[in-house]
Symmetry: C2
Subunit: 216 residues, 2 copies
C-alpha cells in the first residue's frame, strides 16, 4: 500500500502526471479520501482542490504549511507501507514543514533529482546541505536528462553538459550515492503530459531500463 | 544604467551565470553596494552574502521577504533606468512580496519563461493567472528549450514535445504575447556554467538570433 503526497502547493504536477486531472477529493467521516490510481496507490495534491487546473494558489508560507499539516493529519490514508512525498525544489517552507511534521515518525530518507549542469548541481548541493542540517538521511541522487540519442543518426548529445563532472563527480565529492542516470527521451515528457506510465508505454527503452535499475 | 536583482533566495543562480561567483557585497555609508559586471550593470543576490556557494539558505517565507525588502531599501543602487528582477518559479512569497514592495512605483510588467510541454505550461498558466490577480501587466512569454538540432545529422528533435501546442497555442488562448522561442543549444548551458555571455561566445548561432529578436 503506497501513498503519494504532492506538497508542491503552487505548482502541483502530480495529478496530471498520474492521469488524475479533473479528479476531486472526497470528504468522508474519517477525513479527506485520497484519489486512487490503483487499489494500492492513493494520491493527494492541492491540484484536486482547485476548480480549474489553471487556478493559481497564491499563498505565502504559513498557509502552505497549514495545508501540508492537513494533508498529513486529515487525509484518511488508511494503512500504508510507504508514504512518498514529492516536494518543489528548494530549502524553504515545504521542506522544513514536512521534515518537522514527520519528525516523530521514522523517515527513510530523501531522493534528490538533478540535471547534469553545474547550475543545477549548485542548487542540489544546497539541498544536500539542507538534509545534513535537518539530519535527514539521503538515499541518493538521480541524474535526469543525462544525454540525448538522436533518433535519426544515433549520435548522443549532452544537451545539458556536465561541465563539472555531473552528478557522478558531485556524489563522489560529497560522499552520497548516485542511484542512476536517466537519459533524455522525448517520450517521457509525452507520457507525463498524457498521464500515462512511461514504463509501460516504452518498456524496452534505455530510459525504462535506467528507471528499473534505480528502483532496484 | 541597469540593476539586476535576484530574489531566488534558496536557489540563487545569477552570481554564477553572470561570472560573479566569489564576489562579496560591500557595505558603504549609503548601504550595500551591488556587484558590478560592467559599469552600467549592477547585480544583487543572496549568493553574494554566503560564505560558500554550496551553503543552503534554510529560510521560511517571512525571512525571505525581509531580505527582499532589504535588497530594495538598503542597496545603494544609484540612479537606475531599469530594475530587472529574477524570481524563482511559483506564485508565493517572493512574487507577492516584490509586487507589494514595488506597488508604489510603476512596474512595466512580467516576462514569463516556459518550456514547450504541457506540464510546464500548466504552471505558467498559474503564473499568468497570478499576474492578472495582482494587476501586473504581462510583457510576454518566452518559450525556452524549443527544439534541438543534432550537430551531426541536423535533424531537429522536440526534446520537450509541445503536446498541447506549446507556448504559441497557450499565448493565443490566453491573449498574451509570445516574445519568441529559444532553441536548445548545449552551448547555452556551457556558457552559463562558465559565467560567460552566450551572445558574445556564439554570436551567429540560431539561439543568439532568437535572443536578439526577443530583446528587440
Amino acid at each position: 500500500q503506497v501513498a503519494l503526497l504532492d506538497i508542491d502547493i503552487c505548482g502541483p504536477s502530480i495529478p496530471k502526471i498520474m492521469g488524475l486531472e479533473g479528479e476531486q477529493v472526497h470528504q468522508s467521516g474519517s477525513g479527506w479520501s485520497p484519489v486512487y490510481v490503483e487499489e494500492n496507490l492513493g494520491v493527494m495534491s492541492v491540484g484536486f482542490l482547485l476548480s480549474s487546473p489553471d487556478d493559481a494558489v497564491i499563498w505565502r508560507g504559513p498557509k502552505k504549511n497549514g495545508l501540508i499539516k492537513q494533508f498529513l493529519r486529515d487525509v484518511d490514508w488508511g494503512e500504508v507501507d510507504y508514504l512518498i512525498v514529492d516536494t518543489p525544489p528548494g530549502t524553504s517552507d515545504e521542506h522544513l514543514s514536512i521534515v518537522q511534521y514527520l519528525s516523530a515518525t521514522h523517515i527513510d530518507g530523501a531522493v534528490i533529482v538533478t540535471t547534469p549542469q553545474e547550475i543545477s548541481l549548485q542548487d542540489v548541493r544546497k539541498e544536500i546541505n539542507f538534509c545534513h542540517k535537518v539530519k535527514l538521511p539521503i538515499i541518493g541522487v538521480v541524474e535526469n536528462m543525462s544525454g540525448f540519442v538522436c533518433p535519426k543518426c544515433k549520435k548522443e548529445s549532452q544537451i545539458f553538459p556536465p561541465t563539472t563532472g555531473g552528478a557522478e563527480k558531485m556524489c563522489q565529492n560529497l560522499n552520497v550515492s548516485l542511484l542512476g542516470k536517466v537519459p533524455l527521451d522525448p517520450q517521457i515528457g509525452r507520457s507525463c503530459d498524457r498521464g500515462q506510465s512511461f514504463l509501460s508505454e516504452a518498456p524496452d527503452s534505455p530510459a525504462t531500463l535506467s528507471y528499473r535499475n534505480i528502483i532496484q
